[in-house]
């Protein structure tokens, strides 16, 4: 499992297109995403710890949607796998994918913070 900035980052060109060339909006949503990621992570962790697979599926689904909007396709893909596994009540798969998802979330957040600090 190799999670790097190449495999899990934000396609900023694509994001800028989705923001209709509005760089200020692109920066704003990236920052908002970086703030929401730790919250989502905590919610998922708590749901997994309490074996609440319904909440896991719902939270992973929401994370996937936001990641797709943010053009973070790698993160969206793993969030989708966690969601599907939770819906199928495959606890072992959820646990495996959860670790991978954490790495992706961290990588995306680091990517955003690096971008912000570079500006």
């Amino acid at each position: 499992m190799l999670v790097t900035h190449q495999t899990s980052s934000i396609d900023t060109s694509k994001l800028l297109e989705r923001c209709m060339g509005n760089r200020g909006l692109a920066d704003k949503v990236m920052l908002a995403f970086s703030i929401s990621l730790p919250i989502e992570r905590t919610m998922l962790q708590q749901a997994i710890d309490s074996n609440d697979l319904e909440t896991v599926a719902r939270t992973a689904h929401k994370l996937k949607g936001t990641a797709l909007n943010m053009c973070a396709d790698g993160l969206a893909e793993v969030a989708h796998q966690v969601e599907e596994a939770a819906r199928a009540h495959q606890n072992d798969v959820v646990s495996q994918r959860w670790l991978e998802l954490c790495l992706h979330m961290d990588a995306v957040r680091e990517f955003i913070l690096a971008k912000v600090s570079a500006q």
Partner: protein, 380 residues
């Protein structure tokens, strides 16, 4: 230069109001920006409940909603919007994930007009919204047509829900013709839709008829009847100008045919041009029967309402003289439908009253004046 950004040049949105509903603030921001840049006016809500609240004062024409939301989800929102009393249609687009096909079905069943997979593709969303805008424009056109017809009707004290019945009668007759091989090249679903839309304009020219003639309670003198007959030419002239300015608008052509020629008679003794047989456009021949049936079966200041049976008998006796024989035959096949419409849209329908008296008199018989065969039709 940025590539891939959809061209928005030429977009004619007229600042149409759009409400976006999503519990994801990032999705809301991106979507709102795109729609705003596309020329629409945007408001946002975080869930269905908030959307309903905002609709009380914002009145959007298009609502774009996520499905999975707290408080009130997208499907519930669709249902709530459709259950509202509203004078205008709201176009609903649902945003769904690829795997959520069940929600799509539920959403469409609840009244959504369209759906889009998340994340939205800007060009696709723009085209879907354009489709919605076109539909809303058509609604505006229909409302304008009916308002114009109502304006003309408002000067005529006796007619009540006449326009509503005329378009229903015309639709029923046209729908019957759809299945006739003889009319297969002329009558299709679009024809039926157009006649439903334009038949209420048949008497639009009455706006130009003086009150002393239009509102006269008794039978018109020959001179007054000549004045009344001008309503076909006045309506024709009004609609002709519009039809020439917009030759692509087929509804204007049909409206013109109907307004100008619905008093022509199959045997060539009608007005204003004494057209004969199929020289009279089919739409006008249909409205002629609808108009006369309605005039016969409703109460006017100068006559009582005739029963359906009496009215139908008059129409059968006018087969090949006043009316197209095919249309009289069509009428015979849809008699029950005509009767049902009358019951539903005419509160004075005599058959609704038990033991009612039908004032059938000898005055139904054909008179010598070819333009005024029945007293009931004299003031039409």
């Amino acid at each position: 230069m940025m590539t891939g950004i959809p061209s928005l040049s030429g977009a004619k949105t007229d600042g149409l109001k759009v409400l976006i509903v999503d519990d994801d603030p990032i999705a809301l921001d991106i979507l709102a920006n795109f729609i705003r840049v596309s020329g629409y006016t945007v408001e946002v809500a975080a869930n269905g409940k908030e959307a309903i609240e905002k609709m009380r004062y914002y009145s959007p024409r298009i609502v774009i909603s996520d499905v999975d939301m707290p408080e009130m989800n997208g499907v519930e929102l669709c249902r709530a919007i459709r259950n509202r009393q509203s004078i205008q249609y709201t176009y609903l687009i649902l945003l769904t994930s690829h795997s959520d096909t069940n929600s799509v079905l539920l959403g469409l069943d609840a009244g959504a007009d369209d759906y889009l997979s998340k994340p939205f593709r800007p060009e696709e969303l723009r085209l879907r919204m354009e489709g919605g805008r076109r539909l809303l424009t058509l609604e505006g056109r229909d409302m304008m047509i009916f308002s114009l017809a109502k304006l003309a009707e408002s000067r005529d004290q006796d007619t009540g829900t006449h326009l509503e019945r005329i378009r229903e009668y015309s639709k029923v007759l046209a729908t019957e013709l759809m299945s006739w091989p003889k009319f297969e090249n002329e009558v299709d679903a679009q024809f039926v839709e157009l006649i439903y839309m334009t038949s209420p304009l048949h008497d639009v020219g009455k706006v130009g008829i003086p009150d002393n003639v239009l509102l006269k309670p008794g039978k018109l003198t020959p001179e007054e009847f000549e004045v009344m007959k001008r309503h076909t030419l006045i309506g024709g002239e009004t609609l002709s100008a519009s039809a020439q300015a917009h030759p692509e608008a087929s509804f204007l052509k049909m409206a013109l045919d109907i307004a100008l020629k619905h008093h022509e008679r199959w045997d060539g003794t009608g007005y204003p041009f004494q057209l004969k047989g199929v020289e009279i456009p089919l739409s006008a021949r249909i409205v002629a029967i609808a108009d006369v049936y309605d005039a016969l079966t409703t109460k006017r200041v100068y006559k009582e309402a005739f029963s359906h049976e009496v009215a139908a008998d008059i129409i059968y006796k006018s087969r090949g003289t006043h009316f197209d024989p095919d249309l009289v035959d069509a009428f015979s096949k849809v008699e029950n439908e005509m009767r049902r419409i009358r019951f539903e849209l005419d509160e004075d329908a005599l058959e609704l009253r038990p033991n009612s008296f039908y004032p059938i008199s000898k005055s139904f018989e054909l008179q010598s004046h070819p333009q005024q065969p029945f007293p009931a039709m004299a003031n039409l």
